[in-house]
Subunit: 192 residues, 2 copies
DNA sequence: CTTTTATTTAGATATATATCTAAATAGAAG
DNA sequence: CTTCTATTTAGATATATATCTAAATAAAAG
């Protein structure tokens, strides 16, 4: 769903999310009406009705014709049908927000909070957050390369004093693997 | 459609007619989320998100469960389906407003504007309005009774000096009938 | 052509509400 | 039991918007 469609849907809800306009919709569903008639029926001034009708017209919800001095408004029922059809299917809603744009925001914040430049300020108590730090930490090592445990520790110590903790965490959370000769290497991330 | 249903529909539109809440809806359509996650994704403070989620929860649009300190919100997709199904059919919308309640408002206003107590202040130039006054005028005469033209004129003169004008109008607009002996009587109104 | 009527436009005001900060609450971790 | 973390509640503020009055417009009626 495009940004444009999002805006349209939002405006649709905004327009109908008003008592007076929703009543107007109900009245026009019964019969076409002039501005003055609607003003009397809703007990509001003509400019107010005019203002509401303009918003509904802009959206395409109603149409107008002139009859002498009167302007007769009626419902564009096609529009409503098109709007309701499958606007609300899960798959349609799922694309309402562009997840590409926002998906790294959470991780970025975790990094900002727990990192100070290249130093890990603190070990997150939540696994989910820790995994964000672990991903960053793993990225400090080259892919397709073997590291001795001693070298691994040295590198980690640049970022945080408790190298043993992070070394084990990297393995437990499967960012890295080790063989029985104390050699370590990065594992590809499955992304889920 | 009951008043209660109107309120529900109105709240539905109000809740979704907000940029932040519509985005939340889109995000939850993809996956369940905690308050904090949503706050980061939308770049808003937790209390703001909490406030929006409360509104969505109240409506029945989302559900929550606690996971430790986190509150995980997810979409009640059944609710959406039920909402969209035939909520927008013309016949459903047509009952949004109670027309019984409002149908006499227009006539009442015309009477207020053109009448001063029992005096007709002015002859409306529009036929539609004139018919409202004529209905009132006809109601000043008894049903199933014959009036001489002279008596008719006398009665009308209590309300407006131009009795001849109103006498003719009553006949033309078929609120009353006359025979060829200058006798007048009321006609039943067909209501359409 | 002047007046009346219906509507729209412009501008002012009041109400609603989206958002924030600060404080309260409640569960988790140590 | 104390501290930390996520969330909610309370209250303040700023923005959005619903409504009104007054003035402008345009068609109809006289």
């Amino acid at each position: 769903m495009s940004q444009d469609q999002f805006e349209t849907l939002l405006r649709f809800f905004k327009v109908l999310g008003n008592e007076s306009r929703l009543k107007i919709l109900g009245l026009l569903a019964n019969d076409e009406r002039s501005v003055g008639e609607l003003a009397v029926l809703l007990d509001l001034r003509e400019p107010t009705i005019s203002h509401h009708l303009a918003a509904m017209k802009e959206l395409g919800l109603v149409d107008v014709r002139a009859e002498g001095n009167n302007r007769i408004y009626w419902l564009n029922s096609q529009f409503l049908e098109g709007m309701s059809k499958d606007m609300f299917s899960q798959s349609n809603l799922a694309t309402l927000v562009d997840d590409e744009e926002t998906s790294t925001a959470w991780e970025d914040k975790v990094l900002r909070v727990y990192m100070d430049g290249n130093r890990i300020k603190q070990i997150p108590s939540k696994r989910k957050k820790e995994r964000v730090i672990l991903q960053w930490l793993a990225d400090q090592f080259e892919m397709d390369r073997q590291y001795y445990e001693l070298d691994l520790n040295e590198i980690i110590k640049q970022f945080h004093p408790d190298a043993a903790y992070w070394r084990r965490a990297l393995v437990v959370e499967q960012f890295m693997a080790r063989d029985n000769h104390n050699m370590y290497w990065r594992l590809p991330q499955s992304d889920v």
